[in-house]
Subunit: 543 residues, 2 copies
Amino acid sequence: MRPAATASALRSLRTAGRMSFRLACRWQVEPSRRVLGSSIRGYANASGPPVGTQVVKLTAESYPQIQRDSRFAALTDQDVAFFRSILSSGAVLTAQDEDLAGYNVDAMRKYRGQARLVLKPRTTEEVSAILRHCNDRKLAVVPQGGNTGLVGGSVPVFDEIVVSLANLNKIRSFDEVSGILVADAGCILEATDQFLAERGYIFPLDLGAKGSCHIGGNVATNAGGLRLLRYGSLHGTVLGLEAVLADGTVVNGLGKLRKDNTGYDLKQLFIGSEGTLGIVTAVSILCPPRSKVVNVAFFGLDSYEKVQKAFVKAKGELSEILSAFEFMDRQSQNQVAKFSELRRPLDNEHNFYVLVETSGSNRGHDEEKLQQYLEDLIENDVIEDGVLAQDETQLKNLWTWREGITESLAKSGGVYKYDVSIPLSELYQLVEDARTELQDKGFKIGTEDAQIVNVVGYGHLGDGNLHLNVAVKTYDKAIEKVLEPWVYEWIEKRHGSISAEHGLGFAKKPYLKYSKDEGVIRLMKEVKKSYDPNGILNPYKYI
Amino acid sequence: MRPAATASALRSLRTAGRMSFRLACRWQVEPSRRVLGSSIRGYANASGPPVGTQVVKLTAESYPQIQRDSRFAALTDQDVAFFRSILSSGAVLTAQDEDLAGYNVDAMRKYRGQARLVLKPRTTEEVSAILRHCNDRKLAVVPQGGNTGLVGGSVPVFDEIVVSLANLNKIRSFDEVSGILVADAGCILEATDQFLAERGYIFPLDLGAKGSCHIGGNVATNAGGLRLLRYGSLHGTVLGLEAVLADGTVVNGLGKLRKDNTGYDLKQLFIGSEGTLGIVTAVSILCPPRSKVVNVAFFGLDSYEKVQKAFVKAKGELSEILSAFEFMDRQSQNQVAKFSELRRPLDNEHNFYVLVETSGSNRGHDEEKLQQYLEDLIENDVIEDGVLAQDETQLKNLWTWREGITESLAKSGGVYKYDVSIPLSELYQLVEDARTELQDKGFKIGTEDAQIVNVVGYGHLGDGNLHLNVAVKTYDKAIEKVLEPWVYEWIEKRHGSISAEHGLGFAKKPYLKYSKDEGVIRLMKEVKKSYDPNGILNPYKYI
């Protein structure tokens, strides 16, 4: 459909009393919003790697320069016996349990640890007893939530004991007037949001892995995701935390108050500390009322400049109802199309695509604002074509074209993932420069014989957050060497962040200096030393 | 006007195409929004206490149990000469300067310190050089912003040197696409907001003292104020800080990125640390687009239960455009009326009053939502009477009835101020119980011969934040003894906070244990010790 035609269609539809940017998307199947994302769940807590896929190389073999820290003790039968004595049956997995393998491999199947023990405590007191013993014995520990992280932070590097929070999964309280939720760390994000939905509220965070990830892990990694544009960061919405320190001390900071200026806000250090300062066991969080009306539009544009124009207009015209502004490049959408059974939302290909979501309280008002916005984009030649979801199914299907990118890329083999913050004007330049850099160094992209399957860019434009993904047939040190530290140097020059929302984990630890200056890194090391003097919490990572 | 009459007026006005909850407020004068608040400015940076008011008693005399810490050195002529050598002329005030006195007295005129030196650095480097010298010499320091705090945190207790940030007051940068502002700590809130207004943005914080307070002070004290309901806490909106540590180290954490997950979020410790960990010299903050349309309604209700009903309905019906929900009791409004030249907005007195503000992007939509909300309140007998501002002047005047409470109380003599968070259902009970407690202990309230002029309650209902104010002719230890720790024990029983937004400062330090448990207080002390081993920063306060 040409812009002119769309504009005239708009006019005629408006006389019929209801705007339709395009009458409907012609969906062939009716999958759920997470039709592509759902199978990601398998990796984490299931029994080992999926059948039919290659065994993941041990991290210790992939990175021979990293050595096991000799300060840590080796696990003994006495240790295992002790843990069995304090935990309920089924909460202690050893090499005899075939489930163990799944806890050693990360969601990207890039890292594999050698833990011989997984502990699944059911209470904060059990977490405390575990850490007290580990600290006394100098046994290293990896806290693990839903194991959906993308930087290798939630799996062991060597023989660290995995402490899974999966069994600490109860809602503790919810106040239906204030919207304040207190819940165990192991509650699954999607289930928690469903609990809130039934009460007219929403969890102030949403991300592709919601079916598996834990809210404790979300907080420990300061997850960003799809609703940050609207509801802000977890540093603002988390009101309190309960955490267990390395020596077993339980810090009870589960305040249920929106405002409390009585002392240093210590909980903030745990938000984004990736399990290196303590284990988050419960969260108190302010949940906003769930919007009664959600609309989604999806459109194609021919340049990144026009994507930026559409964003500035969205801030001005959609304003308080704007809840997501996601952009995807042509390559990322072609990748999703390759593995999806869904028919593409737009007839023709475009260089860029944008998904705009609005969330508000009045259907008529929201649709009028969105209509005005889209008309404005068409009249000003900002977009080439677009569709507007007409019902919940279409809305979910449109989201699939954004949320399904991660999994469609993973089907290639491996993915080098860069999750970066860059000033908006230069955001997409990184993707183009990366393609050039790889080709200049002799790598083909996307051809039959190429090792590199695709180089794509997409992300949360509203937050200045780009995901640069390089999909490869198999992980290859030669490709990694072209990309790193090249990508990080590119970002450092623009004062960006080498990790916008994925965190540092194992993957980004060596590159911290590209985002933080020496003085700040020194202060961070002091904090780590003070909270975890023996360094038992998530070693070899973060800092 | 009776509810029924208002409803019929509504109906007739609606046919005229534009809703008017009440045709207009009949204003007699046209003062600015801060007509009452503006004279507060005088106290802080002007030349000493206002003429004609009593000299404020020295803090050291009011609280003889607090002793000067003998670890601190006494100021020498050599110290003064050193500061003169590194700072520009006019930046060093000594006992010879008559301006000095103003820096020793707090905004409530309750505390008076004995500083003989005030330093007004113009750059971060100067702040660094000052602290390095003070730390080496063990000279105690009070960082001071606009000196508008309400807990005696910004003035010396004994002879601490005042470091005023007033001359560090430049906007460093502003990005008109992302809305990210970087500015010096000493920028005045109102001037900063005006700068942003000219560019279509808003500072995500607003409070009565905006004409004097500094944005650095706002961040250092984690100010809450009037827009928290809409834009969230500073922990979410502040993106980065520049701060100088006690030993003069400059921590450059002025990130301009909405998302950055590369390490511990150390800046968070400074937000709300009240100058005890370092001096904030610059702030990077995310500013939202300024709403095109702002509406204010003001109504009277007969019970606190109905105030809560009106709030729950506001969350549901005004939803994304709700930007303030303030409540005031009858006593607070009578107090404002006593000192205001404004005619009262409503004809009759009511037990409670609510000010609702909406901020949105579409006049028609916003007015329709507000109309629907107010009709609903009238039809369900929630409110007794109300007015809707018809223009900017009326809007500002309505706000005066909320923002003018503080100053109208101060005219009595002194005010015991309690700023607390309590679960919503019990919020106002504290005010009623406080009146009973004072009367039971033999104090009269509000009569000609009474020492207590008024006991009022008002605050940010949307945040669960009550201001209980006890206005007295003069500060009186006997009254203080009835109120403290009685108020704090009352709050502790309900797991509230003894300081929702005002902070700890000098006034609340002894009562921290009512809001924080021992383990948390121990961790806080470790943080203080680690950042400021000599304890020179804002001693005798906070922790």
